[in-house]
Structures are given as structure tokens and as C-alpha cells.
């Protein structure tokens, strides 16, 4: 087995003269989870479709699971699996029939395909619904079936394109647990997501994608550290004291404080966390300023993203997947 599961260099893909990917690069060590994070239209899905042999590309070099995507696509297909944004299962067939079908199309024998289907139904808690039409499944069940279909032949690299979009929190946690188990067993996972907390939870390393290229790369902590200092936050009880408090914070921290009058919240970057907290608390008490909240905040990935791409974090989806079903 190679140590690097996915290598992409200088990847370029143009649609009708518009570059969807331009100099895209990626390096994912085997047995890790890489998160591709970026807003809609950043090129995440295009990148995954190219890596999964679904889409041709104009320039660059791509090696997935030890095989060259352009020259040996069939070999790549034997070693990967893809779970897309929608449940790619046949709604007219039952869950079991779906898994047997995909097993047969993976060239398993009839008996082996049935046995594997039963195993996966059990593993994904679908045995009770095995003979119902997949179209009658709930959103979470369909996604589980979809994931099960990707695991018929233990893939070396699994592509998950926004795997929890539109799932309720419980189903989302189930998908996350499954991904963690797969990685523990040695599968490499490339995950695209618009959800920062999903990338934070699952990914060993994150590549931030914007306008067709990777604009930053690192562990979630590294990316957060990249925007620098922690922040001290104060919420004052009385809006009249906002100006006093801002002056006080600036004096203690030696930096300009941001003020949000609507929430009566003030923020200031600090270097020495404990000293800043103690001094601020003392100064606030001495000045007789009542506070509702006082604390040190680490930067969030939202802020990291804003800093890295210059886009407002509003370009991203809300922090947590909404419940749709």
C-alpha cells in the first residue's frame, strides 16, 4: 500500500471558458480524513468528481489509491467508492435488492452479493427495513443505505460529497460514527462539506477551497492558529457603559476593542490569556461596571474561513445542518 492515498497537482478544469479548478492541489496521506471546506461553487464537487473518475480534466496529474486517474480509471474504480450529495440508490428497489445489485455490478457472485448485502444491512441497522422500497426510507435511512452501497467492496479511498447535507442531527452523528470506524480500519476519506463543525469534528487535515484552488491547508487547530490571537470577550449589562468598557479593554490589552452595541458585546485580541482575564476582571470591578459574561474565546473556523478567503462567513451554510425531515 502506498503512503499517499490521493495526490493532485496543478489540476485544471474549464467549463465553457470558465475555470472551475485552476491549479488545484491536494495531498492526502493514507488512512486519514481530509476535509475540503469551501462555499458553494468553490470547486469542491468538481474536484471530487475528477478524483472519482467521473469527470475529465484539462491539465494536471491525479493519482488515487496508487493508480493514475487519467490512464488507469478502471483500476481507480476498483479501489474507490463515492457517496454523493443525493442518495444514489434505486428508489423502486428494496434496500436489500439495491445492495445485491451493486454487489453484482462489483462482480461479486450471486451468493457472495447476497451475503454481503445481509452483512451491510445488519451493520447499518437496516435489517428491519431490508425488503421495503428504498423510496419509502427516511432521509437518514437512505443516506445509510447509500453509504452501505459504497462499502460493498471495502474501498481504499472513500469520497464523501457533503454526506450530511439535509440530515437531522441524529442521522448526522450516525454518519460521523461510521466514518470514524472506517478510518480506524484504514480507509482514507476525502470529505467535502460546507459545515465548519463537520470538518472540525472529522478531518485530520482541512483544505480550504475557494475559486477553484486550495487557499489554505492544515489541521483544524493550525488553521485556527493562523488567524492568530485568542480574544477576550465582555458582555456588559448596561449599554451606557459600552464606551467606558471599550476604553478599559484597550488599556488592559493594548489593542483596539470591537464593540457590538446590539449584543452589548466587546472583543479585544489578547496574548497572555490568564493575565488579561485577571486584570480585566479587576479593572471592571474597580470601575463598577456590571457584566453578564466575561471570558476568553478561541477563534472559530468561521473566522478562519473569513480571514483566509475574504468572504463573509455567510457564504457558508449555517453552523449545524438543519433538520429537514
Amino acid at each position: 500500500m502506498t503512503d499517499t492515498a490521493i495526490v493532485a497537482e496543478g489540476l485544471r478544469k474549464t467549463y465553457k471558458g470558465v475555470a472551475a479548478l485552476d491549479g488545484f492541489r491536494l495531498n492526502v496521506p493514507a488512512g486519514t480524513v481530509c476535509g475540503l471546506l469551501g462555499p458553494n461553487g468553490a470547486g469542491k464537487t468538481t474536484a471530487v468528481r475528477i478524483l472519482a473518475t467521473l469527470l475529465s480534466f484539462d491539465a494536471g496529474r491525479v493519482v488515487v489509491a496508487g493508480a493514475d486517474v487519467a490512464r488507469e480509471p478502471r483500476l481507480v474504480r476498483e479501489r474507490i467508492a463515492l457517496t454523493g450529495q443525493y442518495s444514489a440508490v434505486d428508489g423502486s428497489l428494496s434496500g436489500r435488492q439495491n445492495l445485491v445489485l451493486f454487489g453484482r455490478l462489483h462482480h461479486l457472485g450471486r451468493r457472495a452479493a447476497r451475503a454481503r448485502a445481509d452483512e451491510l444491512l445488519e451493520q447499518f441497522d437496516l435489517t428491519g427495513a431490508a425488503d421495503r422500497s428504498a423510496s419509502e426510507y427516511s432521509g437518514g435511512m437512505q443516506r445509510r443505505l447509500d453509504l452501505a452501497a459504497s462499502l460493498i467492496r471495502a474501498p481504499r479511498v472513500l469520497f464523501l460529497d457533503e454526506p450530511t447535507t439535509g440530515l437531522d442531527p441524529r442521522s448526522r452523528n450516525q454518519v460521523w460514527d461510521t466514518v470514524r470506524k472506517l478510518v480506524a480500519d484504514g480507509t482514507t476519506v476525502l470529505l467535502t462539506t460546507q459545515y465548519l463543525d463537520e470538518a472540525d469534528q472529522l478531518a485530520d487535515r482541512i483544505s480550504v477551497v475557494d475559486t477553484g484552488r486550495v487557499v489554505a491547508e492544515g489541521t483544524p487547530d493550525e488553521l485556527k492558529a493562523e488567524i492568530g490571537a485568542d480574544r477576550l470577550e465582555v458582555v456588559v449589562r448596561d449599554a451606557d457603559r459600552l464606551v467606558d468598557t471599550a476604553a478599559l479593554l484597550s488599556r488592559v490589552a493594548g489593542a483596539e476593542a470591537d464593540t457590538d452595541p446590539d449584543t452589548r458585546r466587546l472583543r479585544v485580541p489578547v496574548t497572555d490569556r490568564v493575565d488579561a482575564l485577571v486584570e480585566t476582571a479587576r479593572a471592571l470591578r474597580d470601575a463598577g461596571i456590571a457584566v453578564d459574561d466575561l471570558g476568553i474565546r478561541r477563534p472559530t473556523l468561521d473566522e478562519a474561513f473569513l480571514r483566509l478567503t475574504g468572504h463573509a462567513a455567510a457564504a457558508l451554510a449555517p453552523l449545524s445542518p438543519e433538520e429537514t425531515r
Binding site: 468528481r49 467521473l54 474507490i80 454523493g84 450529495q85 442518495s87 445489485l101
Partner: protein
């Protein structure tokens, strides 16, 4: 090559399972041709005559062919659904032969067409239709109808890969199929139409197969001495072959374009 055949066969099994799992669709599907037989055969049939012969015996071969034409809708919808729901993406990311989807669908459509023909033949015999020239010509007629179905399957697969939304497929198929049956010899003999309309009707690919089927079944309505009527069997082979030659490469090309 053998694995390509095996994959195609697996896919055939998949599409046939749809028939078994959704029998209500089949019942719905047969309601149209059976309604045509009853409404046209009994309501209008008493007021229409084709050279003194039974209108029902004239009508039935037309209904056989028309049913195959409407089968195109199911084909197009199935392919469009597969593409839009990402099922095709899954197939394409697997070591499955790329030909499997279309080969499988064609084979499944032929099996469906055989089942449909069996039901329609029994219906026909019940309302007094019969094949008057014996078994071999009757089988040849059925063979020509199935050949047209195969051609229409490729048209359907092309449509299904062009139309972006599965829901619009059925909206497109009816306005496409209806004029083809109305401007054909299915319900009215072309020589009873105005001359220019009759000419259009006679050269219609649907009419070719219907005329050939009438000839081979020994049913009335041979269509006079116009060239297309005299060479109905030839045209009933040529038209479907031409449709396959045009639409099979177009459908395959659309399928390949998914990767561009």
C-alpha cells in the same frame, strides 16, 4: 467483454424488477390501449367501416404499435431518473461496464414489450380480432413490432439523457407521441384523408409498422397502391433501423458527455 455482457444482464434484471415491484404502473400502462380498443372499436367502430370490413380488426394492429410508442415514455423517465438521482454517477464510479445501463435497458424493454404484446394479443382475440394468415406471418408481424420498440427504446434513452428534469419527460413524450399516432394509419386509413395528409400519414414510421402488421396478420386496411403501402414490410424494417442508426450514437454520446 464477458463482464460487459454480465453487467448488462444484471442491469436488465434491475429494470425488470421495477415491473414486478410496481405492478400498478403496468395496470395503468395497459389502461390506455385497452381503452382505445373499447372506445374506438365499439363506440366509433359502429359508425366507421373500412371497405366493409370490421373496424376492430383494422384497429388492433394499430393499437399494438401505438402501445409500443407510448412505452418510450417509461424508458425516457427511467434513464432521466437514474441520471438525476446520481445512480448513474454511482455506476460510473464502479468497475461496471459503461455500456451496462443502455444495453440493460434495451433488453429489459424488449422483455416488457413481449409481455405487453401477449396481453394485447389476448385482448384482441377477446374482441374478435384474429391473425388470418397463419402462425409464421403473425410471428413476423410481432417481430417487426418489437423491432420498432427497440428503435423507440433508443429514442427514449436519448430523450431521457437530454431532458434535465425527470418530471418534464412525461410532459414532452405525449405531445411528441400523440401527433405521430394521429397522423398515421392507426385510427384512419390514409386514403380516407385529404391527399397531403394521407401522404404524411403513409410515410410515418408508425404507419409503416402498422401497415406491415396488417399485411402479415391478414387484417383489412392495406392502404391502396401508394409506394409506402406496397412496400410496407420493407419500410417497417428500414425505419426502425434508421432510427437506431441515428439515436443510438446520439444517446451514447450524451452518456459520454456526462464525463466532460
Amino acid at each position: 467483454m464477458t463482464s460487459a455482457l454480465a453487467d448488462g444482464w444484471t442491469m436488465t434484471g434491475r429494470y425488470l424488477r421495477h415491473v414486478v415491484r410496481e405492478p400498478e404502473q403496468i395496470i395503468l400502462y395497459f389502461s390506455l390501449p385497452i381503452m382505445f380498443v373499447l372506445v374506438f372499436g365499439y363506440v366509433f367502430g359502429s359508425g366507421m367501416a373500412v371497405g366493409g370490413d370490421s373496424y376492430r380488426e383494422f384497429l388492433l394492429p394499430g393499437v399494438f404499435v401505438m402501445t409500443q410508442l407510448y412505452g418510450l415514455g417509461a424508458t425516457a423517465t427511467a434513464i432521466s431518473l437514474d441520471i438525476n438521482r446520481g445512480v448513474v454517477d454511482r455506476f460510473r464510479s464502479m468497475p461496471t461496464a459503461r455500456s451496462a445501463l443502455m444495453v440493460g435497458r434495451s433488453a429489459a424493454d424488449l422483455v416488457r414489450a413481449l409481455i405487453e404484446m401477449a396481453v394485447l394479443l389476448v385482448c384482441g382475440l377477446l374482441v374478435g380480432w384474429q391473425a388470418n394468415r397463419g402462425l409464421a406471418p403473425a410471428l413476423a408481424a410481432i417481430g417487426l413490432i418489437l423491432l420498432l420498440r427497440l428503435a423507440l427504446t433508443w429514442v427514449g434513452m436519448y430523450l431521457g439523457s437530454v431532458v434535465p428534469n425527470p418530471d418534464t419527460v412525461s410532459l414532452i413524450v405525449f405531445p411528441l407521441a400523440f401527433p405521430l399516432t394521429a397522423l398515421s394509419n392507426v385510427f384512419v386509413a390514409p386514403e380516407q384523408m385529404p391527399a397531403w395528409l394521407g401522404a404524411i400519414s403513409q410515410w410515418n414510421p408508425i404507419s409503416a409498422t402498422v401497415a406491415a402488421a396488417r399485411e402479415l396478420f391478414g387484417n383489412p386496411g392495406l392502404g391502396g397502391d401508394a409506394w409506402p403501402a406496397e412496400h410496407a414490410v420493407l419500410l417497417a424494417v428500414a425505419w426502425p433501423v434508421a432510427l437506431i442508426v441515428i439515436f443510438a450514437p446520439l444517446a451514447v454520446r450524451r452518456y459520454r458527455m456526462l464525463g466532460r
